[in-house]
């Protein structure tokens, strides 16, 4: 059977790739994609710990991921609406150009 460690390693790799997207891309949508990937990695960790944990009858991991998916859906909707608003205003989604509030 597959061990918990292998699932955690896949999840860590998923998280690192999402972080790389957030840090290296110059496009607000790509940053949002990176955030979603990191969130997926965290959800995968929850389910893996639930599967290999001590008390799986309590369904804590499953329920937490269920709520997490709902929050992520709301976050994506609001984030994409913000990107649309910013695009309408600046005609660009390059986050380096959103510098009006710079001191």
């Amino acid at each position: 059977m597959i061990t918990l460690e292998s699932f955690l390693l896949v999840s860590a790799l998923l998280f690192a790739l999402g972080l790389a997207a957030v840090l290296t891309r110059r496009n607000a949508i790509m940053i949002l994609i990176g955030i979603e990937l990191m969130l997926s990695a965290a959800n995968l960790n929850f389910v893996a710990f639930w599967r290999f944990g001590a008390n799986p009858e309590a369904l804590t991991g499953v329920l937490f991921v269920l709520f997490s998916i709902a929050v992520a859906a709301a976050e994506a909707a609001v984030g994409l609406a913000l990107i649309i608003m910013i695009y309408r205003h600046y005609r660009s989604i390059n986050p380096l150009k959103f510098n009006v509030l710079n001191g």
Partner: protein, 174 residues
């Protein structure tokens, strides 16, 4: 040979998910990135099913692949400009290198922590039961307040999305 089948499924899912994720992170055209992201979400849903949480796997497919990835594709296409060159999609070479280095360092720290953690047991427990009936019963009994809060949150996000889609004068944009 259940074990072999599970291992093959894990290997295939891992290759597909991580390959699609790498594509979503590294490809130049945002449209390709969005499509690869949908595939990566499918792979994560497959992991859920492999872990015994079938309900979550299908929810993942419905919400992430069916809604979030499609929404991201819509926004990618709506914010596409014909005059924006490909070079604006990623930063310069050195900052990309620095970002990748930070991400690699985070992965190295996580991998060391995972491999050295004493609390990770090697024995696999029996398959836990995560039936939809049990999840539903817990949602309306012990997790009733979070469920209602999620309802409120989704309503607020819906209103916020509609307000965001409106013009500044308050009219819906044509």
């Amino acid at each position: 040979m259940i074990t072999d089948a599970a291992f093959i499924a894990f290997a295939v899912l891992g290759i597909v998910t991580l390959g699609a994720t790498l594509g979503a992170v590294a490809m130049r055209d945002p449209v390709h990135c969005g499509l690869a992201l949908a595939l990566a979400f499918c792979g994560v849903g497959g992991f859920y099913i492999l872990l015994g949480a079938e309900f979550l796997g299908f929810i993942q497919l419905l919400v992430y692949v069916g809604a979030v990835a499609v929404l991201i594709m819509f926004v990618i296409l709506l914010t596409r400009r014909p005059d924006s060159g490909q070079d604006t999609n990623s930063r310069g070479f050195w900052s990309a290198l620095a970002g990748s280095g930070v991400a690699l360092g985070v992965f190295a720290v996580l991998a060391v922590a995972i491999s050295r953690s004493p609390s990770i047991q090697t024995a696999t427990p029996a398959d836990p039961e995560a039936s939809i009936a049990a999840i539903g019963r817990m949602l309306v009994s012990s997790h009733l307040l979070p469920l209602k809060m999620i309802g409120v949150l989704l309503t607020v996000a819906l209103i916020g999305g509609v307000l965001g889609a409106m013009q500044e004068g308050g009219k819906l944009e044509r």
